[in-house]
């Protein structure tokens, strides 16, 4: 008895009212799908323009907070644009961005990059010219930012420049009755004398096979300590005297003064607990010990050694912030608006100070009053800058590939399986084969 009723219900013909209802619903549905694709100017929008900023800065102690403070200030200064945090930790960052770029589009409106990673992304067309930002902010860029140019136009703005140097704990030095090293041999002696395994260590530099990026990143400076470079143009120089000597010194430090088998994070904690006396780090790393050190006195005791090595050079790395070429034009405009605001001298200075940075990207980017408070920065300032392209030559585009050639041989050397000369001789042959393949 119920079946005919059901059939009647399902077979009921559409009346005019139902038809109009369905038509209206379909129109609303279609419009709701299409609306986000229609780009209204900012002033016509009801809501704020939401921008996602991809960076690893959010996870960095000190730097993340400084950026949040600047974003907050920007939000208070205007009401049209809202910046959201996005990104990954430093270790995963470039791989994640690369995967996104390979799949067609980076999933952010603004993104920061490493110098070598930036070059790849710029070449692949993921960045846009920021000349208008520079003009609007009215600043003069440092000469070092020339590497961020494509067809003469800057495609990334330096947002943090770091320099390699030797940071030491003044209190530990004084307790041991030693002073800043005078030359490289003296440095090894001091580091050895400061070592009392397993309680105290004289030196740390990354050396774990499970941290090949950190190893290669820091190792580059060890050749610079002998005024060397790793490649000249397309020619690798892995078995040059400077590189060989640098690695011999690195190995001697590893044998005599380093906490062997210790990862970078643990070493930073140990340095913050005054259990490691010296650390080869970039200037930006100092922020780690300002806020998170186990020994609260550490930050006040930090000093960077005046260059005691031949040439006195330190690798200087520029990390640009970019606007995504594949985001909507309105978002690009909003992102540039934010960068123009950020690059105004006063805002830039505030960011630099919050991040505890010492190398400004623009003229007048650092206040002398602020610089005077940084007792640890003298050595970094006294070091002569050498850029990544100068150190790696044309391999700057193949930094990680070259690192993958070098690091397994460094591991052989640290394990005592091969002499420095033999291992680096093999590395040189492999690097030449790499050059033949990638520069063909």
């Amino acid at each position: 008895m119920t079946k005919p009723t059901d059939t009647k219900k399902t077979n009921k013909a559409l009346n005019r009212r139902d038809f109009l209802k369905m038509g209206a619903a379909a129109t609303v549905g279609a419009a709701s799908v299409a609306m986000p694709k229609i780009h209204f100017p900012v002033f016509l929008r009801q809501s704020k323009m939401e921008l996602n900023m991809l960076t690893w800065f959010w996870t960095e102690p000190g730097r993340g907070d400084a950026w949040r403070a600047m974003i907050q200030k920007f939000h208070e200064a205007q009401s049209d644009i809202h910046i959201n945090e996005a990104g990954y930790g430093e270790n995963d960052y470039f791989q994640q961005i690369l995967i996104q770029a390979k799949s067609g589009r980076i999933d952010g409106d603004l993104f920061t990059e490493t110098p070598d990673g930036f070059l790849r992304l710029m070449n692949a067309g993921h960045t846009v010219s920021l000349e208008d930002v520079v003009s609007k902010a009215g600043v003069t860029l440092s000469k070092a930012q020339d590497m961020l140019r494509k067809d003469g136009e800057v495609n990334g703005l330096d947002i943090v420049t770091v320099r390699f140097g030797l940071v030491y704990n003044k209190a530990m030095f004084e307790k041991a009755g030693v002073t800043e090293p005078t030359d490289l041999d003296n440095w090894l002696e001091i580091a050895t004398s400061l070592t009392d395994r397993p309680n105290q260590f004289g030196m740390y530099s990354p050396h774990l096979a499970s941290e090949p990026f950190s190893l290669w990143f820091m190792l580059q400076q060890w050749a610079v300590l002998y005024d060397g470079i790793w490649a000249d143009g397309k020619k690798p120089l892995l078995n040059s005297d400077a590189v060989i000597n640098g690695i011999k010194l690195y190995k001697a430090m590893y044998d005599n003064a380093m906490p062997q088998g210790t990862d970078v994070g643990t070493a930073n904690s140990m340095f913050g607990a005054s259990k490691i006396a010296q650390n080869m780090v970039v200037s930006a790393a100092v922020n780690i010990w300002k806020t998170g050190a186990e020994d609260p006195e550490v930050y006040g005791n930090l000093r960077s050694a005046a260059p005691f090595w031949p040439g006195g050079k330190g690798i200087t790395r520029i990390h640009p912030i970019c606007v995504n070429a594949n985001t909507e034009p309105e978002k690009q405009a909003a992102a540039k608006e934010f960068l123009s605001w950020l690059y105004q001298k006063e805002n830039y200075q505030q960011l630099l100070e919050g991040c505890l940075d010492v190398i400004p990207a623009i003229e007048g980017g650092i206040r002398p009053e602020y610089r005077e408070t940084l007792t640890w920065a003298d050595g970094y300032d006294a070091t002569t800058a050498i850029t990544v392209p100068e150190v790696l030559g044309d391999f700057v585009l193949f930094n990680d590939e070259l690192g993958q050639v070098v690091t397994p041989h460094i591991e052989e050397i640290l394990a005592g399986a091969k002499s420095v000369e033999d291992a680096m001789g093999e590395a040189q042959a492999e690097a030449e084969a790499l050059a033949e393949r990638v520069f063909a």
Partner: protein, 305 residues
Amino acid sequence: MAAQAAINKSASGRRRDYLPYMLALPIILYETIFILIPIVQQLVSSFTSDMFGISAVKWVGLANYDRMLSDKYFWNSMRVTLSFMGGTVIVAVGAGLIAALLMNQNFRGRSVARAIMTLPWAFPDLPTVLIFMWIFNPSFGVMNLFVRWILPIEQNPKWMMDINLALPLVIMIAAWKAFPFYGLVTLSVLQSIPSELYEAAKVDGATRLQSFRYVTLPEIIPTLMLMGVLACIFAFRQFALIFLFTGGGPARTTETLVVAVYKAAFNSFDFSYGATIGMAGFVAVFAITLLFAYLQRRQEAEAAS
């Protein structure tokens, strides 16, 4: 009536014929989208040159395979993979068998012991690696104390930084994590062996060793063989433990094929070469899977006869 019934039967039979396909459709779609298409893409990619941000993708034919076959590090990865696979299978399945035999005994606290035995399997990879990195830390690791008690050495071993020790350590950690699974499976088989068989063997005067040899072993061998093949596949695919513990080092001594694929694709950004090594790995896993299928069929045939 009979004709109508036949038509109805035929119609419902046709409907039932579609049912298996409908049921299989979701998994077929899933496998096609997430397995088959990526494999085909990877195969196509292996015939191209694709260096991100350096040059446009171009067809290079068999050049990547030519490079791979003359790459000594590819063959090193193959050797390391087979060593890791062999070592893990022997240690994990062997330890699983021993654990299962122990857990099959009647003793007080057996349930608690079984629960504890499964813990390593339940541990995520990252904490496992961190724990073992500390245990085997050359400067602070507790293992240094044990070794110094046993051996007359003055310097701590370098453990995962030692070219000769890194692979055995990785095998040990992988086996430590995997053996509970094999132990539990073996235990379930052991518990399904009728007790009458042991009683009969006892009546015949068999010792415990003979009971194991002539009763237990024949019953569990088919399972052990299948687990061995499964262990091979699991070991072949192992990435996280190795990458986190040694990163494939030192000096590539723990660089298995999957680690090599990752390094080529995501460290060197040479996706095509990564895809090429990946295809070599695919062929190897496919061969193991065929072996697995063959063993399974043979086992089913033996059971049927």
